[in-house]
Symmetry: C2
Subunit: 407 residues, 2 copies
């Protein structure tokens, strides 16, 4: 049977008109003889409303009570959508996480899915029902409600597609698919027809919108085909698949920029073992992720340690770093909000030498100074001054001829 | 073990300050060495918000999707209260209806509780936890969420008290207890210390606030002691118990008025068998409850049929009755919004003749005309012109010396 799991984000179920549109779209898929399972998030703003209530009540709560509270939002969404589909004369069945059940571990607010029992949903599909499932939530083995963390609805959808052996997992949002670069920045940006899990992972990690990282990892592990597409057009979007080697000569699949980066430099650190570790451990203890790291040791035996973090963490990170800098007798700490990260991603890099060099040359030719670099097998990221972000994306898109179709 | 089930209404959990106050009250009960189980309703307005959403989506829906939607409110309340109690350093366990489980029949939006398994809650109490349970909701035997109808939280609390063998079920609200008459109308109104289930049932049926009728019926059936009391004072309220025969000479326990009454008179109905039945069946088919009914047959062989309904149903009832009146060749239909119902209730009536006569005399002496009458073994209700409501309550309170303590 040709079955499909569709996931709609919270922005698609905000108003009654939107819910009606989504309902019609779902019914159309159903009438095309697909077995349709739909995963819905909480209405946009609903989960934030619940989180605000919780914080007003008592800040910094993260246990099972918190998950109980914030999982109420999906119940409202699937209730409304079910009412609508049912009123249009179609048979509909709804499932909260515990009703499927979607079994997770017990790490509240960021639980991982361990097992999904597809039996009841399969029976409903066989009886001709459209099945709606609340995303983002599950239960642990003791029967307590858990949530999967922000964006967990994507993961719910991919995991359900795997459990049901669905042909494809369609992730609907307000973007048309994955682009070679942000079309708002780059006129030549082209929608990518197919992309590999690894490339998608790198793009998402470097700031591309469209799919949650954990959902891509899950899809990669279980070989679930993802279709990233728009809820507002019938056009095909981007397929995320296992293997997709680009044509000979195509090196870069996509370019992505992330302005949510900031930089901290610790200058004049006595070059003793453990100084860098002390700083990085201090940040990790406060749940601050460090992205790029550079360490230069001067001839005077003093090192400069520079690293990037997200802009939202800058203030806290600056405070912590200043404290530790004193302890390790560093000279000074500088913070800089005005940076961004631009990355090129492509499986083709594996087989092409000199990709980084070509990137740096193109940027240098346009007087864009590189402050930090990090690389993986299929990605090169650079930190640059924030004001050059859009220019850098256009320059690289041109340099690597990403606009030319790789299909 | 001295265990107590406490139920707090939705108006008690609206603001963070209120939730904190309730939390402190619960903790105080806990520290007094009670095993405490708390039933919470949705925050005031929350369920209405969800119902409005549903109606905007598609009016007149009442199935399982509707119950799924409107049961989201309690989840928010118990989540917030649990966060608060937990942040004050006390061990807390939460239960949604399905987690207890509270098993109901499958009559969505007005399900009845069939069975409650107390095992998990008992275990939590034995481990020193305060237990919070979402009121108003359950699941049927197929695992679908059900709701108990408006005010179902009272029934959840009484049923839990029964299942747990609790000493008492405390129903908290913003009233101090059950009064001999509305203190806003009658200066001499006195809080009743103890009242029987049957009296409480009559008072509630005739419009008294405080306890849901179905909860009283459940309590009566299973002999659960109810304590109706204020959430804002430490004073004792009113105990609702099995048997409570008043002292010799006390006839009336309470007086209650209901302004939500309206009257329809169908005049000149040919006195043929089935005419009255046709009208009443037509109303019942549209879910309109008829309260008092009077039929007079004149010498001309034409009957007048008069009945009372709730004011909110008047327009619909008028329309239906006019239609049927035509079919049975009645002369005309009159509708009257300006009536109210005043009732006297008391177990003492069983042993006292002439109670109704004494009531009618007192009203007549004050020029209050009686339009309709209905009686039961422990109640007499009269319909009067609405503007006399308060006067009638005061006159009857005085006439039956209800202000004099019956304890």
């Amino acid at each position: 049977m040709a079955s499909v799991v569709q996931k709609y984000g919270g922005s698609a179920v905000t108003s009654p008109e939107q819910i009606r549109k989504i309902a019609e779209r779902i019914i159309q898929s159903y009438n095309d003889r697909n077995d349709v399972v739909v995963v819905i998030s909480a209405r946009a703003g609903e989960t934030n409303r619940l989180i605000e209530m919780a914080q007003e009540m008592c800040p910094r709560q993260t246990g099972s009570e918190y998950d109980l509270l914030i999982s109420a939002g999906e119940q409202v969404s699937i209730g409304l959508l079910a009412l609508c589909i049912s009123s249009l004369g179609y048979k509909v069945r709804t499932y909260l996480g515990w009703q499927v059940p979607i079994i997770t571990d017990s790490l509240h607010t960021r639980a991982s899915i361990e097992y999904i029992d597809p039996a009841k949903i399969r029976a409903d599909l066989n009886h001709g029902a459209i099945v709606l499932v609340a995303g983002f939530q599950g239960i642990d083995r003791s029967g307590t409600i858990t949530t999967l963390g922000r964006g967990g609805g994507d993961t719910s959808a991919v995991a359900l597609a795997h459990a049901l052996g669905a042909e494809v997992c369609e992730l609907y949002s307000d973007v048309d698919g994955i682009f070679t670069a942000d079309p708002a920045i780059c006129d030549d940006a082209r929608k990518i027809e197919k992309i590999s899990y690894d490339e998608m992972l790198e793009l998402a990690s470097q700031g591309a919108r469209g799919v949650q990282i954990r959902a891509i990892e899950y899809a990669k592990k279980h070989n679930v085909t993802i279709h990233v597409r728009s809820a507002f057009t019938a056009e095909r979007g981007t397929l995320v698949v296992k293997e997709h080697m680009p044509m000979e000569g195509v090196v870069v699949t996509g370019i992505v920029a992330d302005k949510n980066e900031a930089k901290i430099a610790v200058l004049g650190v006595p070059d003793k073992p453990g100084s860098a570790a002390k700083i990085l451990t201090g940040l990790a203890d406060k749940d601050i992720s460090v992205d790029m790291i550079v360490q230069n040791v001067g001839q005077d035996g003093l090192a400069d340690i520079t690293f990037s973090i997200s802009k939202t963490d800058l203030e806290k990170a600056h405070q912590i770093t200043t404290q530790i800098a004193k302890e390790v007798n560093a000279r000074e700490v500088l913070a800089d909000r005005n940076i961004s990260k631009v990355s090129i991603v492509g499986l083709g890099m594996k087989n092409h030498a000199g990709v980084a060099a070509r990137m740096f040359t193109a940027l240098a030719y346009n007087n864009i100074n590189i402050q930090m670099i990090s690389t993986s097998e299929i990605k090169v990221s650079v930190a640059i001054e924030e004001k050059y972000t859009e220019l850098a994306v256009r320059v690289l898109h041109e340099a690597f001829k990403v606009d030319q179709c790789s299909e």
